[in-house]
Amino acid sequence: MDPKSLGTTTPERLGAAVQGASAQKDVQKNSCRGSFEAHRCRGGWPARECGPEELPGAARGLRDVLDLPEGGARPPAASSIASDVRQLAEKYGKELAACGALSAELSAYVAFAEALSAALAEAVAGRGAAAVPAELYAHGAGAGMLCYPSAFLRELGERLAGYDWAAAPGADLLGQAYRQIVQKEVRKKFGEFYTPDWIIRLILWRALHLLVRGRLPDRALPHSDAEADREVVELIDEHYRSRGAVPSFVDPTCGSFAFGVRYIDALIRWRQEKGRMSPAELAEEVLASVAGIEVNPVAAAAAKANYLLQLYRLLGGARLPRRPDPPILNLDLLRLERPPRRFDLVAGNLPWINVSALPADRREAAKDSARRLGVLPPGPAAGKMDLSVPLFAAALTRLAESGGVVALMVPATIFRGVHGARWRELLARHHLAEVWDLTGVKPFDDAEGQPGIVFLRK
């Protein structure tokens, strides 16, 4: 049973949903990858099972979430969300996770993101939120937690209802909160780096120029964020007028969906300025054409919440005829052989991990994918391949529409040397427009490294 399809429900149906979620548990566990896998408890997942009888009580505790559209007292900010999560983790830490503060904080963070998503989804559909505890249960199990205590859910609901979510910014709120919760050293260890907003704007601005006008802008940089934003709106409008649709977009390794949030924010501004669609029409268009893929379940939960927050902003009180289900796919791009659709714009920041640092099974799987995609470096260089190489190839060959634009951040190390030779060969078969080396501006607060950007037209 898919707990997402529940809508308004009864305690009996909640119980049935729990049974279904239990059956999904192993599948979800196995799909967990990335940093969360490393954060989880040694020796297995926390063991407390919760019975179906506990959930109706939790559902009552979360009723406050139903009042979201009326708005809370304060606008949401990353610092206050991070503070809420820390307090929840501290108070309910032992019940949330049996293996330390970080695990409890991540569990509370996931619960916060999932509850926010569920509440926003219900709010924009104009329905009740009784399904929230069941979703929390299902997704919580996937994130390593078998049961959220009722008191925790009650308090979580109170905290969520304390914000005016309509006042959320057009930025990666959940990602910013995450960075305040999880220490820099831990994020660095797992290759989780924050992409500065100016780079996201730069990439979207140049990629849309290439997509819509067939060439890149003459000047390398716009004079300001505002100028880039204005031009992006014009480019979206040009695309809409010539093709009858906004450019479709996917971030192939979306993290908390920072690129997607910025893109939806641009679409919101486009609608406000050009008025070519109603909020509900654009929301439907966004749901059909703006997507993200993320292997890490924690990041995927944040991405979904970020996505729904932007839809909530976009709708501004308008309703959708159905409960929205943002297309954030929690899976490994390298295993996505047949994507549901192709996209005009493939943009994002790929993870940079030398495969030699991966566990043996993942290392071999990555090399196997690279071989099948034709980008496995020759000879001994294969052992030092960067994971971004097969991910780029998969994004280009499987996700990009013919004529579409791929604009992805990669380590600039693959611009040179044998380990990037096959990747460069792949690029030479398409219309490579330009590459950027950002090593000299050290754009990442939390990492050294050699960031680069590639813009190409498929």
């Binding site: 964020d225 040179r416 044998v418 590459v435």
Partner: protein, 312 residues
């Protein structure tokens, strides 16, 4: 296929306004070029300069031997000292007293081994333009022609009795040889070519060729690469050729990360087999010999730039 390349530097901007105000932007036009069947990106300038030199080489670059790996098991500390034959050892062979890096850390006393199993080698950092600035000694259960001892032979040696027969040494070497598909007492890439008398070796960590001639058969370590030559004249010729500015303009753009001049790079350039009858080759060999004595200067580099374009 050409495309634009942008390099940003100068500041760490917080937004696009700051980026536009403080970032320095270098723009270049790049071309995707296939070298040795691999695709590289070169600036138009480097490509134009080297265009006539891109092609197949008569020489093959090889990576140096792995005597510097395995936690210093093979590396000899200091100079070996002549020693009397140990009790029971054949008296018709010469022996030396040695101490290895691994042995020193393990608290092992210096021990006697056959002098034949002590080889001369050098690391990449020992290679300077034109000369090898310093040498190392290392143990190797190999004949002087570079072929390894068979298991039965090995067990009859003093090297085995003094050192390789020890459990700790074997454990370290076996761990190191695990993925190499080789016998544990073999040294990776050690062989007849590595001990060849004449060769041109160059540093791995560099962003241009830093070549030197080795004329006494010393073995390059894994931090250096080399190409074997048939004569000293040929080695000097190759040394000079590798200093051609056109070649190094390309190397600078294809060497990855901090700069690695990989063995395969040699095969990307049209370096003809040395011919003593060709005046240009003879002059290059002369220049190589002078560079080995005096180092490289702008005048020599300019002459090399012209000579490598000449056909014989």
């Amino acid at each position: 296929m050409t495309f634009a390349y942008f390099e940003l530097s100068g500041c760490r901007p917080a937004d696009l306004e700051q980026a536009a105000a403080c970032a320095k932007i270098r723009r270049a036009d790049l071309a995707a070029v296939s070298l040795g069947g691999r695709t590289y990106w070169l600036t138009k300038e480097a490509y134009e300069a080297a265009r006539d030199l891109l092609g197949a080489s008569a020489y093959r670059g090889r990576a140096g031997a792995g005597f510097g790996t395995a936690r210093g098991v093979w590396l000899v500390e200091g100079e070996p000292q002549p020693a009397e034959p140990p009790p029971g050892a054949p008296r018709n062979r010469r022996y030396v007293l040695v101490e290895t890096r691994w042995g020193r850390e393990a608290g092992l006393e210096p021990f006697a081994v056959e002098e034949d199993y002590v080889f001369r080698g050098f690391h990449g950092r020992d290679v300077e333009v034109g000369r090898i600035a310093g040498y190392r000694r290392f143990l190797a259960p190999y004949r002087r022609d570079g072929t390894p001892l068979a298991w039965e032979e090995l067990q009859k040696t003093q090297l085995w009795r003094s050192y390789l027969g020890r459990e700790g040494v074997q454990r370290t070497l076996k761990a190191s040889a695990k993925y190499g598909k080789r016998e544990w007492w073999h040294i990776e890439r050690m062989g007849p070519r590595a001990v060849a008398r004449f060769k041109v070796a160059w540093r791995d960590v560099a962003d241009r060729f830093i070549p030197a001639v080795e004329a006494a058969g010393a073995v390059p370590a894994h931090t250096a690469h080399y190409a074997a030559a048939e004569s000293l004249e040929e080695a000097y010729y190759l040394l000079a050729f590798l200093l051609a500015p056109q070649i190094n303009a390309v190397i600078r753009e294809i060497s990855p990360w901090v700069g690695h001049v990989e063995p395969g790079f040699l095969s990307y350039f049209r370096i003809p087999k040395h011919s003593p009858h060709c005046p240009a080759h003879r002059r290059l060999a002369e220049l190589g010999r002078e560079i080995s004595r005096r180092g490289l200067d702008a005048e020599a580099e300019e002459e090399i730039e012209k000579l490598v374009e000449e056909r014989c």
